[in-house]
């Protein structure tokens, strides 16, 4: 009986140790991608914004593609400058057609040096709708080029999507993840976005006043440059109190800076 108790205690100890090990690694809860409602009268800028969101979210493109420096893997071609080179990939094929074919029928043409294997994004499990694909094309064109695609553009593959009818409408606009970060890290408790100063200066039009590098610095080292009329040390204390420095990932920080630069 004594041995049985020792062994049971040992089992709990070892299991608890392995649980502790599982707590060492980054803790990330992955939510299922949200479906996006797209209206027929989106402007090009709105299409690009939505396309960017789909590329990083529902489209799962960044699982395999890099996007300049922000991607995570390099299994398929980098898309950082795709808007500038898409029209030159296949002779006689315009950039919109090339990008559309790459998504609807990705293995029709495989860039030399890479292996076939990309799933058709209009099919499950990705299952983008025709409208979503148009926004992705707009975003890809914007990467080094100028978007020419509109919501009225017709593509020969349209009508093949599966699951479009199941899409649940969800409001969309702007960089939602960064907006969430802005509130979840309590930035909004001191900084207003409407021009009125709070405990900290208003961030309205921040992108026109500061470069991204300066925004980056003002988050990481807030006392390096103090806006006139505000006390040094306050933001640093707030960042410590909210645990911002311990919690924020490099990707989140970049996302936050991009968002603030766009204000």
């Amino acid at each position: 009986m004594k041995h049985a108790l020792y062994i049971f205690g040992f089992t709990i100890l070892v299991s608890a140790f392995y649980w502790y090990v599982s707590l060492w690694v980054p803790q990330k809860r992955t939510e299922p991608p949200e479906d996006i409602a797209i209206s027929a009268d989106l402007s090009t800028a709105e299409m690009v914004a939505i396309g960017e969101e789909i590329v990083a979210g529902k489209g799962t493109c960044l699982t395999c593609h890099t996007m300049g420096e922000s991607g995570a893997a390099l299994r398929f071609p980098d898309l950082g400058n795709i808007g500038a080179i898409a029209a030159t990939r296949v002779e006689g094929q315009g950039d919109v057609t090339y990008l559309a074919e790459s998504m609807y029928d990705p293995n029709a043409y495989v860039l030399p040096g890479f292996v076939a294997g990309m799933p058709a994004v209009a099919r499950p499990p990705v299952a983008l709708t025709d409208d979503e694909i148009l926004t992705v094309i707009a975003y890809l064109q914007s990467l080094g080029g100028t978007p020419t695609v509109t919501m009225a553009t017709e593509l020969e593959w349209q009508g093949q999507s599966i699951g479009a009818a199941d899409a649940a409408p969800v409001a969309v606009g702007g960089n939602r993840d960064a907006e969430t970060l802005f509130t979840s890290y309590l930035c909004n408790t001191c900084h207003n976005l409407d021009g009125t100063p709070g405990a900290g200066p208003s961030l309205e039009g921040l992108g026109t006043r500061l470069t991204k590098a300066e925004i980056y610095e003002s988050i990481l080292d807030p006392d390096a440059t103090i806006t006139e009329g505000f006390a040094p040390g306050v933001m640093g204390t707030m960042l410590t109190a909210t645990g911002f420095r311990e919690q924020v990932s490099a990707q989140e920080l970049q996302s936050l800076v991009d968002y603030l630069a766009g204000l």
Binding site: A4, T11, S22, P33, P124, P125
Partner: protein, 600 residues
Amino acid sequence: MTCFCRTKAVRALLVGLVASAAVVLLCEPALAAPQEADPDYRALPFISSRVVMWIIAELHLMFAAFVLAVPMFALVLEFIGYKTGDKRFDQLAYDFTKLLSVSFSFTATLGALLTFGLIVLYPALTKYLVKVFSWTFLPYVLLFFFEAVFLYAYYYGWGKFSPRVHLFLGLMLNIVGTAIMFIANAWLTFMNTPSGVDELGNLTSLWDAINNYIWMPINIHRLIANMAFGGAIGAAYGAYKFLGARTMEEKAHYDWMGYTGNFIAICALLPLPFAGYWLGVEIYAYDQSLGITLMGGTFSWLFIIQAVLIGNLFLAANYYLWLSMSRIAGAERYRRFIKYLLGVITLCFIVWATPHSLVATVEEARAMGGSHHPILNVLGVMSAKNTAVNLLILTTYVSFLLYRRANKDATVSWARTGNLVQFGIFAVVVIFVVFLGVYGYFVDAQTRIGLSQPQVFSVLFAMVAVTVIDLFLFRGARKRGEIDWGRIPARAQYALFFLAITFAWLMGLMGYVRAGMRQHWHVYGVIRDTSVDAFTPTLGFAGLVVSITVIIFFLFIAVVFFLSGLSSRKDWAERTKGTRRWFRRAKQEQSDSTLSVEAS
């Protein structure tokens, strides 16, 4: 009296009527409500349905793995006993088999619980899977019936049939058990890599649905993993009995049992990474993004936890082997090598568990110039990890080799040459493996992935070639002494428990990632998870669930060990014969003295 009975009966009848009326009234709204369509999900109070199903499924898998593995090595041990005439093997096989009958009942009960849970909590998914696989259920049930027949015939027929008939029963038990596993594997692998259905999920070919991309890799992977797991649990049983043994004879027997179980576990563990590699290749072949989600995306950090677990398995297995050498006369001369082996294992363990990107604060990330450490980054990539794991396998093999030859001196004329050739093979393979590891840093990803195969095959070649040479080298060898079974410290038994717990935890973790890589899909790309549990939890939460599952599993296993041990206990009447006699005598004496007092 009659009146009283009648009153009681009337009162009972009244209570019954009131209770029935209450039940009817309570149920009335539900009975009166119009029939609604079946919901997709049902929820449990207080706890997530997914967590409950997760724990039940994993417990079922653990018991099933054990129940399928034990007959495999029991049959092999029995066969060795039959061919060599050594009764110890037969006894050992029987000792392992004793664990089966209770475990079989646990497996079946947990399987039923899993099925009912799916029907109640996930009706839509269950309905879809039933639609696709309905034709596989009848053979499954029939095979299950046959498994019960063969299992009980094998267990209760021990010593009652001729050895050949009994071996045949064992063989049939294994064949039927494996077939059952193959059918169940078809269901679960279909959920990851569905085939044989169109894009709307309609069945087009049952055989294609069964023979999906990862069906056969999972079959093979599970066969091997079951052996490893079963061996480890068998070894834990040996350790448990060893610690409670009262005689040297018992200690010797259970020491041997623990050693054999561990030997089976480690032998099965060594080829497991290769089966895992095949499984990974098939996942990538089915859908690259699924493969990348598994290895390079959400779950990439899970493989750091896996590295810690497997590193611990190797450390504990080697530690046990080194402690085991204390029972062998002549092993002292090899002790000086242990520190070097430990050094290599530790180094490989560290490399294998080094993450590619680090968890760092913003200041640290800025100082490093990114999330990749300037030095450790070099060790966190595939080239370094493949090299480390191959050297880890090779080092464990060396430990085993030293154990094997501990009490022997080769007497063949070519002994020195043979040793040199063995050393040469090791040296060449180590250099080759390290060279390919370094070379991997200078080539593109596709070539780098391809380098893992020559690394693996060279290590396999070394193990096979050295073993063959060793067999001939030590034929007719002079013995320095016998193995003194039972002379081993108690901490060696805890090393066996540690191995069993680690194996169980590893199994739980890999079970999680196999299901988790589907993320928000029940059937990948076909049936989407729209429940409140559609998210992929953090690894810490998954670790907690796995830990709880492992603890519950070992509680159940403790019951199995206890019940299995009952058969070797003396009968109650025999055990308590002395006590009862004493009690009777004491009572008699007391009665006599009372009588004499009364008489006087």
